[in-house]
Each structure stands twice: as structure tokens, then as C-alpha cells.
């Protein structure tokens, strides 16, 4: 917070007005429960924590250059160059620190988590700083490539939203750089950016984020996998203020 470049928070007491809205953009009657995490001043360093579920005998192993695990990813030139490198390119205004690599053992499901099970998985996130990233075989239902909260609970470990999940089955038909774009999209949502446009925006003009309307379809926050890796200066400014950073 805030997800706007016009209000720069300063130390002091704030009174927030929280509301909900209906699908048609009108005011809603729901009373949201909000936890506000406000970082005063910017940050620069982004810690990423890679967690690998059991990806053995994966149908897309060949496309990944062999079985993917904490050990192989750490040593894989392709993973480091095309995936981690592409994340660094997309978030060029930040410094991605050396990621951590861990296998997730003794947790079920290891395979294709259904939506309810994803919350249990993300709750394993033990790192309070940065973002926990879980590589899973696939996400159910078929076609979902990534999952995560918007925004994520920066600075809080062990909650049902403490991380994002990435389905590596996408590697059957995409490459590491494209998977990096999908991961960056989800990371940016975690850090406080919103989809710059939605499928229903033509019918509901209020469904857009004014920070990312320039060259909309090539923006990182375009809701579709066909979007590009670009960020506007205003979006980068919001990312720089994310409490995820240190």
C-alpha cells in the first residue's frame, strides 16, 4: 500500500475508508476485513525462495532439461539464465538477491493441487522476507499456470497466502523465459500491482488499473498469458514501495 503513485505515505496516524463494489462498479454492502501493511520509504532488494515439490517422472521433464529439483535448478545453466535471468530483466529496477532452493518433503498433495489444497501449500511458506515460490507439477483445473494472492501478506510467513504457486506443466508448451513472465506477473500481483485490464473491461470500464494502461497488451500485468513483460514507470514505483522488499 498504497497502489497509487500520488500518495506517498509518511510516518503518522492514518484513517482509512474501506469499501466494496459490485460487478457493475456501484458501491457494495459487504464489509471487508483489511490488514494494512504500509512501508514507509522504498526498498530495492527482492528475496526469492524457490520451493520444489516432487517433480520426478514429470510428463514435461524433457522440456525442462531433466527432472527439476532444488539441486538441479541451482546448477542448471538454463534455469539460471533463462528463468532467473529473465526475472532480473523484467524487474530491472530491483535487485533480486541470490535465491534460496529447497525441496518440499512430507507434504501432500505433491502432485496436482486442487484449489483448496493450494492454501495448505502456501501456508508452508516459512520465509517472512521476500516471496515464497512453489514449483508444482500442475495446478488444477488444467490450464491454470500460476496462483497467488493479490496482494500477498508481505512480511508474514505461514499464512494461507504466504507465497505463489507455479505449474511446471506449462513447460510442455512454453519455454523458461515465458514461465519467467508468468512468474513475474504473479510476483507483481503479490507485491501490490493489479491486472491492468480484465476480460470484462470493455463492458465494465472501471475494471482496469490506470497505472498500466499504456501499451496495455504488452504489459506484465495484462491478465492473459499473451501479455508482454513491460512495466510502466508508475508500476515500477509501486513495486519499489512494496513491503516485500528490504
Amino acid at each position: 500500500m498504497p497502489s497509487s503513485k500520488v500518495d506517498v505515505p509518511e510516518e503518522g496516524v492514518y484513517q482509512l475508508t474501506v469499501g466494496s463494489f459490485r460487478v457493475d462498479g456501484g458501491p457494495g454492502t459487504a464489509i471487508p476485513r483489511v490488514m494494512a501493511v504500509i512501508k514507509v520509504g522504498g526498498g530495492k532488494a527482492l528475496d526469492l525462495h524457490f520451493h520444489f515439490l516432487d517433480l520426478g517422472d514429470h510428463p514435461c521433464s524433457d522440456a525442462m532439461g531433466g527432472p527439476l529439483s532444488a539441486a538441479t535448478a541451482k546448477l542448471s545453466t538454463t534455469f539460471q539464465t533463462d528463468f532467473v535471468g529473465q526475472l532480473r530483466t523484467i524487474f530491472s529496477n530491483l535487485t533480486i538477491t541470490t535465491p534460496t532452493y529447497e525441496n518440499v518433503a512430507g507434504h501432500e498433495p505433491q502432485m496436482s493441487p486442487e484449489p483448496d489444497a493450494l492454501a495448505d501449500l502456501l501456508a508452508l511458506g516459512a520465509h517472512a522476507s521476500g516471496v515464497n515460490i512453489y514449483f508444482v507439477r500442475s495446478i488444477s483445473p488444467s490450464g491454470v499456470q500460476a496462483f497467488g494472492p493479490n496482494p500477498g501478506p508481505a512480511g508474514l510467513a505461514g499464512t494461507a497466502q504466504s507465497g505463489i504457486a507455479i505449474g511446471v506443466d506449462t513447460m510442455c508448451y512454453r519455454d523458461w523465459k515465458t514461465l519467467a513472465r508468468l512468474t513475474a506477473h504473479e510476483l507483481a500481483r503479490y507485491m501490490g500491482l493489479y491486472h491492468n485490464t480484465e476480460l470484462g473491461t470493455p463492458e465494465h470500464p472501471s475494471w482496469h488499473d490506470p497505472l498500466g494502461t499504456a501499451d496495455s497488451a504488452n504489459n506484465l500485468m495484462y491478465f492473459s498469458a499473451s501479455g508482454g513483460p513491460n512495466l510502466t514507470d508508475a508500476q515500477r514505483e509501486i513495486l519499489n514501495r512494496s513491503p516485500v522488499l528490504h
Binding site: P59, C60, S140, P141, V144, Y173
Partner: protein
């Protein structure tokens, strides 16, 4: 031959829509969101006519635009929301996909098989032989396919394949089995009232 005829018929709506690139883009966007799959509300937005949705989605599930497998997987999933219309049968399309990819164990073919299994298991218009069609994949060498078959049988709720589930459960609990597939079979058997 039958599939060739169905595919030929189903390609017509895409060609007919070629004048409307905005609509085509919306269809593609609806079937490629990063962090969700198209809801029925999304599909109603881009397909005001339900018949068009059935026809176009059947076509994309078999032959996606530019060979985009990601789009194909979502189209397959979306078919669970639609019924037969003149010139298109979502259930038959799913059944054909399962039959046509039955031996797949790796790569995109395995992904298409798992997606088709789950979608057919959830489709409201299942026919009497669909449970056996799903159960045939319980013995697939790929654990992801077996998991999808077990979950599809759970969703299908057809007790005729309890025997096949019990037989595979025995294997999955053995040294060459996968614990999580065994758990999915347990879940299916519970739903079918056998545990």
C-alpha cells in the same frame, strides 16, 4: 473418419468469425488468463450465443489457434459447461480426445489426456460407457494421468468402475505405486460409497 467429419464441421464457425478480429481476440484472451480459467460468466461475455460457444470451443479443443496447447487445455476444461448443439457435441469431443490420447504418457499429449479426463468426468451429459473410458487410464504409466483418471471417476460418480478402482488401489499401495494416486482412488471410492 467420424472425427474428421466432426472436425470439419466444427471449423466452420472459426472461419465464419474471421471478419471479426476483435471477437477472435476476446475468445483467445478468455482462454489464456494466467491465474484462472474462464468462468461461465467470462464465456457468456465472449459468446452471447450458447450455440456459438459449443461450436467454437469444440473446435479449439481439437485444433487450437496456432497450435497453442495452453489455449487448448482451457478450451477442453470449458467444454464441461456446454451441451450438444447442431454441429457440435462437447461430450463427444471430450470422449474422442480421451480415446485419441489414451496411450499418451509424456509431453503435451499427456496434458491433453489429463485435461480431457477431468472434463469428461465432470461433464453433465456423460453416457453409459464414459466411466469405463475414464477407468482405462487408471493403469497409464504416467502418474499424472492416473491421478486425473481417479479424480475424474470421483467426479463422475458412476459406481460401475469400483472394481477397477479397487484393483488399481492395490497396485498403488505396493512398491511401484504412488501414494497420492492411492489417496485419490480412496477419495473416489468414498464418494462412490465403497469405503
Amino acid at each position: 473418419m467420424k472425427r474428421a467429419i466432426i472436425t470439419a464441421v466444427l471449423l466452420v464457425p472459426i472461419v465464419a468469425m474471421s471478419d471479426n478480429t476483435v471477437q477472435e481476440t476476446r475468445v483467445l484472451d478468455a482462454l489464456t488468463p494466467v491465474d484462472s480459467v474462464a468462468t461461465i460468466t467470462d464465456l457468456e461475455l465472449v459468446f452471447p450465443e450458447t450455440d456459438d460457444a459449443s461450436r467454437v470451443l469444440c473446435s479449439l479443443a481439437v485444433s487450437p489457434t496456432a497450435g497453442d496447447v495452453g489455449l487448448q487445455l482451457r478450451a477442453i476444461h470449458a467444454l464441461t459447461n456446454f451441451h450438444d448443439v447442431p454441429g457440435a457435441s462437447p461430450r463427444q469431443t471430450l470422449a474422442d480426445l480421451v480415446d485419441g490420447h489414451r496411450t499418451a504418457t509424456t509431453g503435451t499429449d499427456a496434458l491433453i489426456l489429463t485435461a480431457a479426463l477431468r472434463a469428461l468426468g465432470s461433464h453433465p451429459d456423460k453416457q453409459h460407457d464414459d466411466a469405463a473410458r475414464l477407468a482405462a487410464s487408471l493403469t497409464n504409466p504416467c502418474r499424472d494421468v492416473r491421478l486425473a483418471a481417479a479424480r475424474a471417476l470421483r467426479d463422475a460418480g458412476d459406481p460401475t468402475q469400483i472394481g477397477a478402482l479397487l484393483a488399481q488401489q492395490h497396485i498403488e499401495m505396493g512398491p511401484r505405486g504412488v501414494k497420492e494416486v492411492a489417496s485419490a482412488i480412496d477419495e473416489a471410492l468414498q464418494k462412490l460409497g465403497n469405503l
